[in-house]
Symmetry: C2
Subunit: 355 residues, 2 copies
């Protein structure tokens, strides 16, 4: 608990006095005031987060936290749970969507076994990109009891903080959340229902693509898990342990550590959003360090964004996870920062001002 408690304690509010100063500089650049919309907003947020009026985004990392879910034995997913570990190998072999998009964005991918139900055999060459932080071999089935113990919940968050700290040594200016875990939209729906107070039916989506009958079954399973475990919405660790997942705990750690280190963190889709809810409940000011990458096609995601008051950068009808939305948004965040730091002023460029 020391690592988690200390991390939470060290998170400070961002320096919002820098926002006005940055807007003043943006207004001197050769463009009509405010005409770069969200790019300007992002530039201001990055300055406020980093405390640097000339931020440089050089090192970008997507953290893919992977874990299995005992609740998959209830038949809530379109894919078998073996896909979790199979996709981890796909990440390490650079064949997945996130690898392609990270290559495009110039971002590094770090894959973490937070709690896959089998051992992961990683090659020596992959050491930098694979981390074994396994808390357990998958969570327990949450319709039969808590998904994990409170101690496991804490350890999963602390493992996420550790992963972040290890990557920080390699250089890190912009972080992105990603995940893999068959069954994790079920867990995320439960977390979101408990945290926001919205109904399970309004939150739950089709995950990787289930049919109508399976959808109704999924809703029933989530309602049952919440009823049985009765998680306390005021206690984020209680919610995480009873209906969460190890990868969600890991992402919570990534978000908290990013805030502690004054590094902006891109929230990906629905599952990353559930982790953001847990992090927010543990320390509300962490919100200022979050950037919503996109609005997922998974319908519960919008409920999370509205609850946190985050405006997403992209809306591309994605629902893949892995950090795909986060890595696409990295390019837009960088664009905003470059606008701030590389454009000419009206004076330097000898361009006339307004009439």
């Amino acid at each position: 608990m020391d690592k988690l408690g200390n991390t939470i304690k060290k998170i400070k509010t961002v320096d919002s006095s820098l926002i006005e100063k940055t807007q003043h500089h943006l207004d001197n650049l050769t463009k009509p005031r405010g005409s770069l919309g969200l790019l300007e907003t992002l530039a201001k947020q990055i300055v406020a987060i980093t405390g640097n009026d000339k931020p440089l985004i050089k090192n970008k990392t997507i953290f893919i936290m992977a874990g299995d879910h005992g609740v998959t034995e209830e038949g809530v997913s379109a894919f078998p749970k073996e896909v979790t570990v199979q996709m981890v190998y796909n990440f390490l072999n650079k064949g997945a969507a996130i690898n392609v998009l990270a290559g495009h964005a110039g971002a590094e991918v770090v894959v973490v076994d937070m709690g896959i139900s089998t051992e992961v055999r990683s090659q020596k060459s992959e050491v930098r990109n694979f981390k074994d932080k396994k808390i357990n071999f998958g969570t327990k089935n949450m319709v039969k009891g808590p998904a994990m113990t409170r101690d496991e919940a804490i350890r999963s968050v602390e493992a996420g903080i550790e992963v972040f700290e290890e990557q920080l040594i390699n250089g890190l200016d912009l972080a992105g959340c990603g995940e893999m875990g068959i069954g994790n939209t079920t867990s995320s729906s439960a977390i979101t229902a408990v945290m926001t107070g919205k109904s399970v039916k309004d939150i739950t989506g089709r995950g990787t693509g289930i049919d109508n009958k399976s959808f109704l079954h999924k809703v029933e399973i989530i309602e049952k898990a919440i009823f049985l475990n009765n998680p306390d919405p005021r206690d984020a660790l209680d919610v995480l342990s009873k209906v969460g997942g190890f990868e969600i705990g890991g992402l919570t750690g990534i978000i908290l550590a990013a805030a502690r280190e004054n590094i902006p963190v891109l929230i990906d889709g629905f599952i990353s959003g559930a982790a953001a809810l847990i992090a927010y409940k543990l320390q509300p000011i962490v919100k200022d360090y979050m950037i919503a990458a996109h609005c997922s096609a998974e319908k519960g995601h919008k409920i999370i964004l509205d609850y946190l008051g985050l405006k997403p950068i992209l809306d591309l009808n994605l629902c893949l996870g892995e950090g795909t939305g986060a890595v696409l948004a990295m390019g837009i965040v960088e664009a905003g920062v470059k606008i701030l730091t590389q454009m000419a002023t009206f004076k330097n460029a000898s361009v006339s001002g307004r009439n």
Copy 2:
């Protein structure tokens, strides 16, 4: 007229049989079906446009067409008209927003004098990036008569086609529209009103940032120009000549030439959208080659997108022009193509399919 007529004649419908084939390939990749949303749609469109099932986007160019507008003497803009040429120098000195964003996206910027009201002195070193296609020293004031002659309108479109052809020699896989011209939201509002039949008041926005009084004056000026010139909406060249601009004609040429050469073209904001309307009216099938980069904060732009049935990639509250939205969207288009061509299949990656 030969160049324009021949170009229009050579534009063929895209091969839509390739769309289904491409979706089949996308469905074999290691991700749930359709989970990459708009990225998949873009990949399919690029295959259909290029006729290449493994498209490669290597050379990207933003064409910035610049021209002045006689109607600025009516006081419709927040900036003096000298800013058009001053910004052209800023483009050539790489100090503008489009330079920064093009550098970020790895795109080339080609700046074209389509009809600036003064001579542009370009340096030898800038020859590749600057082209003199001046049709005239700015358009005439459209509240006193046609903005240009019909012959000038044709020559402006043909100059755009020429610029495209010249760049094609350097290699070109993805084109983007950009523009600079103080007063050109006034001209674009007039074109949009005539072409879509919507009211001037519903279309007209604040351009680079005019106040309420100037806004009402701007609406009045546009209504007056349309009343006086009575452009025929069935005759795109009549509309372009009476209430258009040289840079808008140039962009029309870029769009038509891109379609003729089976190259995808990103439509930027409101002014590029007005050029897209002209191109569409000259040859409706050109629409299949257009990709809407973003939805501008300039309100008439949404009316154009709806009229053409185009769904924008980004919505970042931009209203700068220059091609800034187009160049930001290039990264997303490329991401879609890379997903199609670089991801592993379920079979290759030994990942299990659906239950």
